[in-house]
């Protein structure tokens, strides 16, 4: 290990100002800090620092996404074999590896395009690489349908990173969640690739795994079925375990719950936001159910579609959500309620989570403003009476 350190020390001057590889400084920096904790010591202020840093935080979120990703891969295989009617003959590994091969290119495209832009941007601005895209890069493949073409994905990722994040100043300054912005871009620019009933089940075999489905094969998500006025075919059990068609990572409530546990345990996601999303969604769905406006039970609204995934991984994004504790309650509640309202009352969109979160991303600073303003007016009053 010492040899590696020595090697890094030896090549480091090449990447510094005036070195022949200076154009790759940000890349070298990124890898060096990835391999080794920087040895920089405090110059001002406190002399000791907590061991936490944004690399650790982002890694924890990526770790929390692993169950959803792995299950998503399995489910991609499951849906394909189920549609072809060959589920009974297929082994667990066949299902998983088919899904793995179907999902991996999306993850690679997302990371290569996104991180490529991040590295270039950091080089241009002379900054350190920000870790934010580690999370966005894995979130994006998990919230798109499996049949989304890679070239479209590449464009959307580039859009999300540049317009969604970098022009605002990078991770921590963005208004909208980049992963959701990516999905929104796809959703409105290429609606046929993102919704409907042809995109949710992988329909080509890969390396001999999987089945080629007949042209014109259709399979709608449960929410899609509701949107079309059809009967929901999936059982509640399947909805919770996740054996339903949908975006790659969003189907399994159990896998998402595992991730949620890690996020709440480490305190990286706010339990207040998460809980209030479910409360808001649940109450709103109850209302609609009692008014007879929705054909499914209120709890099915919470387990279907992107609701859980959005509540756990998207709404709790600390940068784009409310930053005051009181604001987090309001923010989460409105997201939950709004998602269900869009689902039930808008015939155009069977799913409302993405739009609800993006809408509230926009209003989060306003909510915070009023919370902080309360503190300010208290202070001003105090000054007046004394």
């Amino acid at each position: 290990m010492k040899a590696l350190r020595n090697y890094l020390n030896k090549v480091k001057p090449n990447f510094e100002e005036g070195g022949k590889l200076h154009a790759f400084r940000s890349l070298f920096d990124g890898f060096e800090t990835f391999l080794y904790v920087p040895n920089d010591t405090a110059r001002t202020g406190v002399h000791i620092h907590d061991a936490i840093d944004s690399k650790r935080i982002m890694s924890m979120v990526v770790l929390a996404l692993m169950p959803a990703m792995l299950f998503g891969m399995y489910n991609v295989g499951y849906q394909n074999y189920l549609a072809a009617g060959t589920l009974a003959q297929a082994s667990f590994f066949e299902l998983f590896f088919f899904g793995f091969l179907a999902v991996l290119p999306k993850i690679l495209v997302s990371y290569i395009v996104g991180l490529g832009i991040e590295f270039a941007w950091a080089q241009w601005k002379g900054e350190e690489i920000q870790e934010g895209f580690l999370v966005s890069g894995i979130l994006i493949p998990l919230i798109i349908p499996v049949n989304c073409p890679l070239w479209i994905l590449a464009i959307a990722v580039a859009f999300a990173v540049i317009i969604g994040k970098e022009i605002f100043g990078g991770t921590g300054m963005n208004i909208f969640n980049p992963a959701l912005l990516c999905r929104a871009f796809l959703f409105f620019a290429y609606p046929t690739k993102m919704s409907g009933d042809q995109v949710w089940v992988a329909n080509d075999s890969i390396f001999g795994l999987g089945n080629t489905l007949p042209d014109g094969f259709t399979m709608a998500t449960p929410l899609g079925q509701i949107g079309q006025g059809a009967e929901v075919t999936a059982s509640l059990n399947d909805m919770i375990i996740g054996f339903i068609p949908g975006s790659i990572g969003e189907t399994s409530v159990i896998a998402i719950a595992l991730g949620a546990l890690l996020l709440l345990w480490t305190g990286i996601a706010s339990w207040k936001t998460m809980l209030s999303v479910f409360v808001g969604g649940g109450l709103m769905a109850c209302c609609f159910e009692s008014l007879g406006m929705t054909p499914i039970a209120w709890y099915e609204h919470l387990v279907l579609g992107g609701f859980c995934f959005g509540a756990v991984f998207m709404a709790t994004d600390p940068v784009t959500s409310c930053r005051t504790e009181c604001g987090k309650w309001i923010y989460g509640f409105i997201i939950g309620a709004m998602a269900v309202i869009i689902r039930v009352m808008n015939p155009g969109y069977p799913e409302g989570m993405m739009l609800a979160i993006l809408l509230m991303n926009m209003f989060a600073p306003t909510i915070d403003h009023f919370v902080v303003e309360r503190n300010i007016s208290k202070r001003m009053k105090r000054g007046g009476t004394k």
């Binding site: 920087p38 040895n39 010591t41 907590d50 840093d53 300054m173 345990w265 503190n375």
Partner: protein
């Protein structure tokens, strides 16, 4: 029983190397220096020349804007150097101590018969008035405005701090005299810890209110105590004594008529072989204390003060005016730790549960001076507020300071804070921003604007 104020926010960082409650005797090597930077916000004007002879209590330098505020020499001896840095900034005034100490006699005083003016007068004459700080701006105070109240924190709870209850033992009378004198100037609030024994003696004094602060660090920060008792509004001034030894200085002056800047210092930190307490004078050279106290082969950081708010110094540095500890920790710049972002890092302290220090009960940790991460924009929300037990939105205030929006800073309560209140926030910050520097610069700009 005094009023108990319970605080829930905050963090006690458990570090190795707490000083034992015993004192070693130390023979000074005779070198002393008073450092103007220890008195925040003053512009020093040196009033002695090299070669002059001073007595303990004679002024070495004064505050240029308020020449009546002088700063007394801790010892009698010969002024050997006035060291200056860039742009002739005064770094320190060095005094070589005489074998036999002479003191300026300011006369014993009967505090009960003095009024506020007389107390201020005697503090100014004796050159210890500048040890009192003020809010707003968290600077050494001036006699131009009288405060609406005076706050003394007799609770030291920063990591490895020298316990004031231990220091004050045997000097209770001086402390009581000091508080009594301050109470003549304005209403005086004394904040104590729940184990303190000072309560009974202090409560008997008139114009003094004693409050017990029960909670994790920074409950002992005087700014936190002010925020809970009588917050500062725009245009108001309170005097703060976050370093309770200053009250002992005042008490000794009034009881004996001499300037006696002796204080108890904890020699602490994980690199110190035998962490103990020692009595030293303000400005005493640290080399006698530090020689052989740590392994010279290690790359260490010597801190004048505690790990949160102290200043980095060297082996031949001088004890700071407000330093109740001298801390020695590993520098850590040769650690070369691999893959820290995913390793369990069982030996490192963190508030975050992705590490395991929260499972370790009372285990004490060794901390080095590494920042352990790169500086980022503020990403996580609510980190600061968890360790800032004040009615203030820390994150918003920091942003207002960074953007230089003075109106917003005022609205968010900048007059109530000092840099040390953000020390713990700086420690826990996952974005690794230099919060104390940001706050200090913000306060300085504001002070200039308002002047």
């Amino acid at each position: 029983m005094a009023n108990v104020i319970k605080l829930r926010k905050g963090l006690d960082i458990r570090l190795q190397g707490r000083a034992e409650e015993q004192k070693i005797q130390l023979k000074s090597n005779g070198s002393y220096a008073l450092v103007p930077d220890d008195f925040e916000g003053i512009t020093p004007k040196v009033v002695v020349k090299e070669g002059d002879h001073v007595r303990a209590g004679d002024a070495l330098f004064v505050n240029k804007q308020y020449p009546e505020v002088s700063f007394a020499s801790p010892v009698s001896g010969k002024v050997t150097a006035v060291e200056r840095g860039e742009r002739r900034k005064v770094l320190c005034v060095k005094v070589e101590a005489d074998a036999k100490q002479e003191y300026v006699d300011f006369g014993k005083k009967d505090v009960a018969k003095m009024d506020g003016k007389a107390v201020v007068e005697v503090l100014l004459q004796a050159g210890i008035f500048g040890y009192i700080n003020q809010l707003p701006y968290a600077v050494s105070t001036t006699p131009s405005t009288m405060p609406k109240a005076i706050f003394v924190s007799a609770l030291r709870d920063k990591p490895l701090a020298c316990n004031f209850d231990y220091e004050v033992k045997g000097q209770e009378q001086d402390f009581v005299t000091g508080v009594q004198a301050l109470a003549k100037i304005a209403k005086t609030y004394v904040g104590i810890g729940k184990l303190s024994s000072l309560d009974a003696q202090l409560s008997a004094l008139s114009n003094v209110e004693v409050n017990v602060f029960d909670g994790p660090c920074p409950a002992g920060n005087v700014g936190v105590q002010v925020n809970h008792l009588d917050p500062v509004n725009k245009g108001e001034v309170v005097w703060t004594i976050g370093d309770p030894t200053v009250v002992l200085f005042i008490g000794r002056l009034l009881n004996t008529g001499k300037v006696d800047l002796r204080r108890t210092v904890a020699l602490c930190g994980s690199e110190v072989k035998k962490p103990v307490h020692v009595d030293m004078l303000v400005g005493e050279e640290l080399s006698t204390l530090l020689s052989n106290s740590y392994d010279a082969a290690h790359h260490v950081r010597i801190i004048n003060g505690n790990v949160l708010t102290g200043r980095q110094t060297s082996k031949d540095g001088f004890l700071g005016a407000h330093s109740s500890e001298v801390t020695v920790i590993p520098e850590g710049d040769d650690a070369d730790e691999m893959l820290g972002w995913i390793m369990p890092r069982l030996n490192q302290f963190s508030v975050n549960r992705s590490y395991f220090s929260w499972l370790c009960g009372k285990k004490e940790f060794q901390a080095d001076a590494r920042i352990k991460g790169g500086e980022r924009h503020i990403i996580m929300s609510g980190e600061y507020d968890k360790v800032l037990p004040m009615d203030i939105y820390g994150e918003y205030l920091i942003k207002a300071i960074i953007t230089g929006d003075i109106d917003r800073q005022e609205q968010l309560g900048i007059y109530e804070i000092s840099p040390e209140d953000f020390a713990l926030a700086e420690f826990v910050d996952s974005s690794k921003l230099e919060l104390q520097r940001i706050v200090r610069e913000g306060l300085n700009i504001l002070r200039k604007e308002n002047a």
